[in-house]
């Protein structure tokens, strides 16, 4: 397995674990999470000071370690991975696992499971998002953990939950989006659904997993008791459908009809215009929404009071809704002469909700709002290189996040965790390494 030598700029000490600050300092999480959901569930917790020990299988790389999102290579689809990837080079893994410690164990070996038991005894939380059955095969049930540490918290996340006929079904973000109804809710009428163009449910199931861990910690703080929690990605998705779910079941009309979904029209007709309009360059767009007659007057002023806007067909909100195609085409003739940000700032100066449809390049490098709030955080990595990370989107007045390090290289913290956290002797750690346990 080829690896890139660490950059001389990064001495061992600059990446050495240190006591954490932040509101969750002192809380230890043993994290079996992999791919996206599990790592996203502990990302915020690691940012906010929890000591997250990421357990990895040294012979079965986390999928995100293999995905070819590399700084020094042209972009490729994530399925186009190398046969023998450098496990420390992927930007995606780095984005999800910063501020965590990393250990590698061969869970097929009893010595590795003994190490896990020692870690459980010193942890507050165990989290995982394997397919149901994997943790059981290793004997890592809640009952087992509870015997080792009575008030342990065990949070499990899977696509369909841990009971019911689909409990063993496989899921990735797009599957969870499909079976929860989210994909069907998005698109233009009469076409295939456009859905959500990324693994949104990986993020959201992960974030709900964060909630589960925190709720269990609060429960323990209040009662002294641990807890086992199971989370279903499908059910998280259903909880994100919004009122349209209630309408679909309560109205009896259902949503498999010619006028659903509504594309970019307002879902309940509260705004018109309400859409995404082409601007002056290829694939450049601006979104805008006008709620009610007062805003419509302001909108007309922003557009320079064109004569079409004063015609009877656009006079009232209801008429604008009824004639939205004609309205959109008039607006488009105006937006096409302008850049997305020009449209945005012009309309915003008249109190109209409008936003350039921003690229990630713009988010990271040109958005003054995100820049001033420090939303993206720069961290260096010996192999993946220096880059901006998706930071914490919340300002805590008295407990800021503690970004201490980018993601662990494979097995980077084996010695620290075994010797410093568990108190295992250096000789024994060497032995475990030689035996292929770590």
């Amino acid at each position: 397995m080829p690896t890139t030598p660490p950059s001389p700029l990064h001495t061992a000490s600059s990446r050495s674990p240190r006591p954490r600050s932040g509101p969750l300092a002192g809380i230890r999480i043993l994290d079996f999470g992999w791919v996206a959901v599990g790592p996203l569930a502990t990302r915020l917790l690691a940012d906010m000071g929890a000591e997250v020990i990421k357990v990895e299988h040294k012979n079965r790389l986390d999928l995100t370690r293999r995905l070819p999102v590399y700084k020094d290579q042209p972009p490729r689809p994530f399925s186009d991975e190398d046969a023998h990837p450098d496990p420390d080079k992927s930007g995606l893994f780095n984005n999800y696992n910063r501020n965590k410690l990393g250990v590698t164990l061969d869970m097929a070996k009893p010595e590795a499971r003994a190490i896990v038991d020692l870690l459980i005894a010193r942890s507050d939380v165990v989290s995982e998002n394997f397919a149901p059955g994997v943790m059981e095969r290793w004997g890592l049930t809640y009952q087992h953990m509870h015997q080792i540490r009575e008030n342990i918290i065990f949070v499990r996340m899977s696509g369909f939950g841990h009971s019911g006929p689909y409990r063993d079904y496989k899921s990735y973000g797009p599957i969870a989006q499909a079976v929860s109804g989210l994909t069907h809710m998005s698109g233009l009428p009469g076409r295939e659904p456009s859905g959500i163009g990324f693994a949104y449910m990986d993020n959201m199931t992960g974030y709900f997993g964060t909630s589960a861990i925190l709720m269990a910690l609060i429960h323990r703080m209040n009662t002294g008791e641990g807890l086992e929690f199971s989370l279903s990605g499908m059910e998280v998705g259903v909880n994100l459908l919004g009122p349209a779910l209630l309408e679909a079941v309560a109205s009896g009309r259902g949503t498999r009809r010619a006028d659903f979904p509504v594309g970019n029209l307002h879902p309940v007709g509260a705004a018109s215009p309400h859409g995404v309009y082409p601007c002056d360059a290829e694939d450049s767009w601006c979104a805008l929404a006008v709620f009610g007659d007062e805003q419509w007057s302001q909108f007309r002023v922003a557009l320079g009071s064109p004569s079409w806007a004063g015609t009877p067909s656009f006079q009232t909100h209801e008429m604008r809704l009824a004639n939205h195609d004609a309205l959109d085409s008039e607006i488009e003739s105006w937006t096409r002469q302008r850049s997305p940000h020009e449209v945005m700032h012009n309309l915003q100066s008249h109190g109209i909700a409008a936003a350039a449809v921003q690229t990630t390049a713009e988010l990271q490098e040109a958005d003054p709002q995100l820049a001033e709030r420090g939303t993206f955080v720069e961290l260096d990595h010996p192999v993946a290189g220096s880059a901006l990370f998706e930071g914490v989107p919340v300002h805590f007045s008295s407990t800021p996040p503690d970004h201490w390090r980018s993601s662990p290289m494979l097995g980077e913290d084996n010695t620290y965790v075994l010797e410093n956290v568990l108190g295992i002797s250096t000789d024994r750690v060497t032995e475990l390494r030689e035996q292929g346990v770590i």
Binding site: Y70, H162, Y207
Partner: protein, 373 residues
């Protein structure tokens, strides 16, 4: 204590309520404006708002003459003992309503005050207006959603997702602050920005820019990517769509896929030895996907979902929301509970997605009706 009337703030109270917190929503005489947001039961605008029910079921409601903090004795008492205060005001309005942290802290130093707003409390865009569509646009999510034909405008995902993303961050921040405060510590102020929350929740899109400086392009029902990828939804015989995550580079996933097709009677030439090599499969991806498309077209979506999964192939029906209430898995898990409507009927309401306790015997309390108390 919740002052918000927009879905972002109301979702925060809803999620905390679902986890067992007692949530009191403060309303002016006549009720919060969100009580008048469509859709309505039976489409009747004078009736009960399903929008309001979705975001507020199970909360308690306190009507006060002035929703400024401290102007009403009942409200003042409530705030003095509150663990958490949620509002959706920008800095000046928060000060005007005495909901700013300084005002609340003056009589309740333990309070955790969470403001959830389009752009947060600071920055050059702090006073900009936003709705779900523009929030998704400005924060980079919208550009990832839509069709392969890039001359078609990006398409807004359904269901107020910008608010939901921000609400989960707000909830998690509140829980962190509660944990940090412990039993007797001081509260703090949490400034949650919808714009920021969505911008840090974009899956591959941010790393693709941070590392190879690549912009990803939207594709229908699958991940936006720097180069086009194969389709992921296929039309079944009953007209419904099936989502399939086909990973042709992985040998085990490939074998499962072929066994699914074989048992369905349409593996065609995919069992020939040349397909045992990932490189060959990648080279002939178009042909493989053609066969998959034809195969899916021969069977109803439910059957394909179940048989694919039985073979270990990640697939799922693109469910319409109303189909969820009859899905056998959710039914077996008791996921929906009937919530009463004000006029006597009822509506199936999803429970929280958490199961707690050994053997998952109990969920946290779910929703109740949204009548004013």
């Amino acid at each position: 204590v919740e002052f918000s009337t927009d879905p972002a703030g109301e979702m925060v109270g809803k999620l905390l309520r679902s986890a067992g917190a007692s949530v009191v929503k403060i309303e002016p005489p006549g009720g919060a404006c969100s009580r008048r947001v469509p859709p309505f039961v039976r489409g009747d605008p004078s009736g009960e708002s399903l929008h309001f029910l979705w975001y507020n079921a199970g909360k308690k409601f306190l009507t006060v003459e002035s929703t400024s903090s401290g102007h009403d004795p009942a409200l003042a008492e409530l705030l003095a003992g509150a663990d958490v205060v949620i509002h959706s005001e920008r800095p000046e309005a928060a000060e005007r309503r005495e909901l700013d942290y300084k005002s609340i802290r003056a009589f309740n130093p333990r309070a955790i005050v969470c403001a959830i707003t389009p752009f947060g409390q600071t920055g050059p865009w702090v006073h900009y207006s936003a709705c779900d569509l523009t929030a998704l646009a400005g924060a980079g999510m919208l550009l990832l959603c839509g069709y392969d034909d890039l001359t078609i405008a990006p398409v807004r995902p359904g269901g107020y997702q910008s608010y939901h993303v921000a609400a989960t961050f707000a909830v998690n921040s509140i829980l962190i602050a509660v944990l940090h405060r412990g039993v007797s510590g001081p509260g703090q102020f949490l400034d949650v920005s919808v714009h920021d929350a969505v911008a840090v929740s974009l899956d591959l899109a941010n790393p693709y820019w941070s590392y190879p400086k690549a912009t990803v392009h939207r594709q229908a029902s699958r991940g936006a990517a720097p180069v086009p990828t194969q389709p992921a939804v296929f039309r079944a015989a009953d007209g419904r769509w099936l989502q399939v995550n086909l990973m042709i580079s992985e040998d085990q996933a490939w074998r499962r896929f072929v066994s699914w097709l074989r048992d369905g009677g349409l593996s065609v030439d995919l069992e020939e030895p040349s397909y045992e090599f990932p490189a060959f499969r990648r080279e002939h991806a178009g042909h493989i996907y053609q066969i998959l498309d034809a195969f899916v077209g021969l069977h109803p979506a439910d059957q394909l979902f179940w048989t694919a999964q039985d073979h270990g192939v990640p697939a799922g029906v693109v469910y319409a929301p109303e189909e969820l209430v009859t899905d056998p898995h959710l039914a077996a898990r008791g996921f929906f509970a009937e919530v009463p409507l004000r006029d006597g009927g009822g509506v199936p309401f999803p429970k929280v997605p958490f199961e707690a306790g050994v053997g998952y015997a109990a969920r946290f309390p779910h929703t109740g009706h949204a009548d004013p108390d």
